[in-house]
Symmetry: C2
Subunit: 314 residues, 2 copies
Amino acid sequence: MSKENTLDEHLLIQKYFSDIGSAYLAERNVELSVGDDAAVLNLNPDTQYINSIDTSIEDIHFLSFISPRDIAYRSCAIALSDLAACGANPSWYSIALTFPKADHLWLEDFSSGLNDFSDEYKIPLVGGDTTKGKLSVTVQVMGEVKKGKALLRSGAKENDLIYVSGVIGDAFLQLKELKKSQNQDTGFDAYLNPKAQIELGLELVDIASSAIDISDGLIQDLNLVCKSSDVGADVHLSMIPTSVENKTLELINSGDDYQICFTASEDKSAKVNNISARLGVPITEIGKITNTRELTLIDHEGNKMDLESGYSHF
Amino acid sequence: MSKENTLDEHLLIQKYFSDIGSAYLAERNVELSVGDDAAVLNLNPDTQYINSIDTSIEDIHFLSFISPRDIAYRSCAIALSDLAACGANPSWYSIALTFPKADHLWLEDFSSGLNDFSDEYKIPLVGGDTTKGKLSVTVQVMGEVKKGKALLRSGAKENDLIYVSGVIGDAFLQLKELKKSQNQDTGFDAYLNPKAQIELGLELVDIASSAIDISDGLIQDLNLVCKSSDVGADVHLSMIPTSVENKTLELINSGDDYQICFTASEDKSAKVNNISARLGVPITEIGKITNTRELTLIDHEGNKMDLESGYSHF
């Protein structure tokens, strides 16, 4: 594969989009711009606003045979997951929907999925745009945090413990099943109806030193934390929570897990366990931050694994 | 054509998206939601924030052979035009870019267009998402107005004069030329590099009683003002400013004119003329608001024209 095809989304955004209009960041009250899970905006003295935008495309982010209701719900939950990783309380969302033709049954079902989403997170849809074309859904979400409290990728410190929420790889396993069966039965919630870990994010404010949404793959995304924080990480494959015994690199780094990977100093571990119990969300320690500037994945025999692969959008 | 194919974007958004999560509008500080040019959000006591999202798709909103720089600039200006029509001062924007492959030259040129846009309106890009697929650009823009000052569609009153900025139909004429020549020379600015009428919108706060961006067609969009304001309008074809003599309905209602149509009471006409002179933006009176609840277009002989057609997205 040529280099230009292996350029991942993060590098691409970094290279072409990270400095556009940066001269106007201060005068427009933008505290954090392109490069974290979301942007941080100072719109009033006590609160910071967190903004994120995400596109979901047929056959890439959702299968074409899943219901419009699930397409809508999933596209919104995916976008909201970036806000969860910032510790933000969601405020509202807008969508830009592109679809091939105005089919009323389809639109009604899609609209039900938006209603499910609005009801679950108690936020209104405030605007939208519809255009004709291949099915895709772009969702913009905005939320708020108390000033200075946003969870960012940049705060991880040596010896911090690394945690991950939920079970890793279930969406990948369910997607494989769905592709085989082409039949959308029950039992595919990790893929079809992912939950944005909003409550967990809110609890982690003041506890986590850094956080990231791991939708592009646990290892790839944790690596972004390491880069932003200028640290390294030792992660133990055996400690990563999965629902099957065979913890392949593909399984744990497949993406589509709308979970949070975060770091916290060791003295916070009792609090982390407490949050996990209170919310009923599994939180698992998977390794430790190091001063090596390198992410190392350690296999069952204690050997360093090859990390050349990883999910790339292009 | 079946009814479902003629459903226009406005009706479609109204029908399927206008009430989603509306139970949470008040608690999330949303003053105006789906249905105007943009949403109005109360995020701090003195300022209201205006949010809009717009998708531009290859072969629909821009021709495939125009330069990536023009694609980027045009997509952003189109989205910003909704903020202009609200009288908002732009704050920042984010983009979701879908494109088939990571071509560095293409991306560099696209990125230059974003820089042009950022520099022209002095706003930073604060975030983005890139996905693989057919070329499309979704731009979200946010701006601010003083509390209660947003220009909306709903304030037009009987006997208000109706004005339009700029020259109508030039984008349509240029698009026809471009399709013929397939060659992007100079002289196509109305289509390739439309300007969002931000300064005009800012000046119209406290002067206009209603305003709308006329990108979907002057008549179609003015009709939305009539509906929102519960009034009618008499528009004189001969008064509509065009650069050619033959003022066909197709020409004046073709869309792609990123101009503002607004209403103001007669006693504001000197101020309106003054703004036009000061900004160097043509502003033309084209008719009057009536109490008929009907939009009537009057031809050169004083006869009522048939208004069945109009630009529809689907």
